[in-house]
Symmetry: C2
DNA sequence: ACAATACATACCCATATCGGTATGCGTCAA
DNA sequence: TTGACGCATACCGATATGGGTATGTATTGT
């Protein structure tokens, strides 16, 4: 077995910087593949492949217009990530760090006796 | 080149379910490796490897006590993820979906004429 | 009908992943 | 001192990734 498939969930899909870039671009509005290719610095097949991953986890929707494919953002799957990280919010506040430090010092003062 | 290294940033580190599980366990407090091994269903070397990744992106800190390594959570690197996803918050609200739909309908009504 | 355009897909390559087993090393206990 | 324990690291294997090039397919324009 290798790493979990990137198509598995939003966490994996979003771990790739290029895919985050695509989502950021799409956040401004619907765009065609060629549009995205122009905006990013990579070749079209690569963009298409990243779009496929995003499609498979439901982060983007497609609409066919003539020979164009217009991609649109669907942020809903990001909610899972948001909910998970949000639980850690208190963790990176200054207050939390200080509290931890104090606890730590108390613990060490308790364990050792010089 | 293959996929971006998992040690590259918090996004990659957290894409792995097992590593999220470790963080969740550590959120309850400091734990030794053996402790984590017992709590998760995998062998010790695997836990150690995941811990290494988490260490390298700064998501955990270690403390040596005798022959034990006590790991502690450091949520700070999660902040980057939080900030990124949070920008999309409006995206998965009901209101945003409705708004998009309306815009979409207006656009189609404007383009075609049946 | 034919060429051009817009994408998706098929391959190929190099790499790094996760899982597991074997091993090394420092610390503690007898 | 010797053995057990706690953990990290070295390997190995299978797999899937991201990058790229070549190619196929549908739609549009001439």
């Amino acid at each position: 077995m290798a790493r979990a498939a990137t198509t598995a969930d939003a966490f994996n899909a979003v771990a790739e910087p290029r895919r985050r870039q695509i989502l950021d671009l799409l956040a401004e509005g619907e765009r065609s593949v060629t549009d995205l290719v122009a905006a990013m610095g990579i070749v079209q097949p690569l963009v298409s492949k990243h779009l496929r991953v995003l499609r498979e986890v439901g982060l983007v929707d497609v609409r066919e217009v003539g020979r164009q494919r217009l991609y649109r953002l669907n942020g809903e799957p990001l909610r899972a990530i948001y909910d998970w990280v949000r639980a850690y919010e208190r963790t990176w506040t200054r207050r939390f760090d200080l509290m931890e430090t104090v606890i730590e010092e108390l613990k060490e003062r308790h364990d050792s006796d010089d």
